[in-house]
């Protein structure tokens, strides 16, 4: 199994406003504190490479305290020159959110060339709230996503210049310099929450599917649908196409781990993901069949999740090294997920580094059967 260290880069704070997204006033953001946080978070990502993680991950979110990385490519650029071995997974760029997605093709190619082919390029639509923050029409989201993806993939793989004349994006000359180093292009991943359309789209193209912050039951269901779709497209999914993103808390014993998790992980769900209902589901963001599917089995909103819900539902992995190993075995053996992306939060920078060390010492070595395999070979393109 492969392990990627994932960071949200949150600005952890308490507040009484109805939403941590879109409207939470940026007067709460203190750039002096932000300076310290960014450096700690980047240190953690760099340290993950040193400790043996296979990859490190950044992502994109806008106007919130949950994750302060509006430009994941900027963060990836900082990491590229400070690391030398780990994959750098950008999970991902919000394609429809860009007015000019050719810039994404260019930026990823730059990172790929500088990193000598270590970049993984996630393609996402962005969550509902981003459409409020950036003013992009959510009813165009899906079409823009597909069109921007096509543009970027063609820009990476076809010899330029060529014209591109889409519905949303039009260029007389597509001819980006540099071209990416990985052939035919950097692996593409699809972080998603399980919409039928995205599962199908990713499976068809052999793009790994990443389930983010989802209860384990639903992960099993969506993995099943993804595998079926791969079979329909005439191939069997590699384990490295099935990826999961969930927080891990490890400590010397279960009780300590639980206490740390209660203090630090719950914030992400109860406050970090607090938002007004319309921000979850902007008009037209979901197709009507997907909407009906969501309404028919409405999960508890993140703000109402208790620690027990997270633990029992398998949203998070918490425990002693032995417990964490057992729980990871479920992902490896039962769900057959090939890659686990997870962030850690020990409560402070130092305690987080200690937790990472404990994980690297007591957990990672038990999952190294596939250490010799390149998880990106033949996957994601």
């Amino acid at each position: 199994m492969k392990f990627y260290y994932f960071h949200l880069m949150p600005y952890v704070m308490d507040h009484d406003e109805p939403s941590s997204w879109v409207t939470l006033s940026n007067r709460h953001y203190d750039p002096e504190i932000g300076h310290g946080l960014y450096h700690q978070y980047l240190d953690q990502l760099e340290y993950a490479e040193k400790l043996g993680w296979d990859g490190i991950c950044v992502n994109e979110h806008h106007q919130n305290c949950y994750g302060t990385m509006p430009s994941p490519n900027v963060m990836a650029a900082m990491l590229v020159r400070r690391t030398s071995r780990a994959k750098i997974a950008i999970l991902g760029n919000g394609l429809p959110l860009r007015e000019n997605p050719l810039r994404i093709a260019e930026e990823i190619a730059m990172l790929d060339v500088v990193s000598r082919g270590r970049v993984i390029s996630g393609f996402v639509r962005g969550i509902g709230a981003e459409y409020y923050s950036l003013g992009v029409n959510p009813t165009h989201s899906r079409e823009r996503f597909y069109e921007a993806a096509e543009l970027i993939l063609r820009a990476w793989t076809e010899t330029g210049p060529f014209p591109f004349d889409g519905k949303y994006y039009r260029y007389p000359f597509v001819n980006p310099w540099p071209r990416p180093l990985q052939k035919p292009h950097p692996p593409v991943w699809c972080p998603s929450q399980g919409s039928t359309e995205t599962v199908e789209w990713a499976a068809k193209r052999r793009f790994p599917y990443l389930m983010v912050f989802t209860p384990v039951k639903r992960i099993a269901q969506i993995y099943g649908e993804y595998r079926e779709a791969c079979e329909r497209h005439g191939y069997t999914a590699s384990p490295y196409q099935l990826t999961v993103n969930l927080p891990i808390v490890v400590a010397e014993n279960d009780a300590k781990a639980y206490a740390i998790a209660r203090d630090n992980v719950l914030w992400v769900y109860n406050i970090g993901l607090r938002m007004k209902t319309p921000f979850y589901m902007p008009p037209g963001y979901l197709t009507e069949p997907s909407l009906r599917r969501v309404l028919a089995n409405r999960p508890k909103p993140p703000t109402e999740l208790t620690f027990e819900d997270l633990e029992e539902g398998g949203y998070i992995i918490v425990g002693s090294p032995a417990t964490v190993r057992d729980k990871l075995r479920v992902f490896a053996d039962e769900l057959k997920a090939g890659i686990v992306c997870s962030g850690m939060n020990g409560g402070s920078h130092e305690k987080t580094l200690e937790m990472m060390e404990l994980f690297a010492r007591e957990v990672l070595p038990h999952f190294r059967e596939d250490a010799h395999i390149d998880e990106t070979a033949g996957v994601g393109r």
């Binding site: 003013g135 009813t139 589901m281 979901l286 909407l291 309404l295």
Partner: protein, 261 residues
Amino acid sequence: MPTPRELVVRGTAVHLHVEGSGPPLLYLHGAGAGGRWLTFQEQLARHFTVYAPSHPGHGGSPAAEWIEHISDLAFHYLDLLDELGLERAHLVGASLGGWIAAEIATMASPRLRSLVLIDPVGIKVEGWIYPFLFSMELPELVPMIFQKPDAALALAPKDDSIDTLAELFRQNAALARVGWNPYLYNPLLARRLPRIAAPTLLCWGEHDRLVPLQCAEAWAKSIPGAQLVTFPESGHVPHLEEAEAVAAAVVDFCRRQDGTR
């Protein structure tokens, strides 16, 4: 409530109420009011043959993927007039419906016996930015739209079933398709308003918080000869809040244009 009719206009299904007798009057509803037959329409139907279609994706009309711009809706209703065989009709539109009606009037004033706009959105008014309804939940939405909260009951969803929620989502999506960004206006419309040659009445709620009275002045200045009537107890939807008074003003204005008064 009249039995709804279904017809197909250039391949697009339309759900339509028709009621009354007299000269034809096309009524275009605002967002959230599709498929409703309310006191206001009832009153108009005493003097006119009222045609009240639901916009695509609203009320009983299915969503139409081809509608991507407000002018698509305007052409859709010109096609509907053709389909119904109405050479000339009175055109009354409220809010979103008012925006569509204004677009139609800039394209085809000769088809209109008169034009009535009730608190329309659709133009950018210097010094005003429309509050963003898409981010509001009911407790914010109701006081934004209604001066008389009781009037909101007329538009309350019938239950919280999946079908009803899906219908609300479909309506919001249909509105977002034409009105998310630019938000609730067409940047080209304001400079075209002087082309409107139909006699025009503007009806406005004095307490409209979405499209306040200062917007009414901009409309009145741009449309040649437009008359403005305001309603002192109304917010954004005077035809729901002071239905009888607004209907009386509209009937009076339209009948004058027909020479029947």
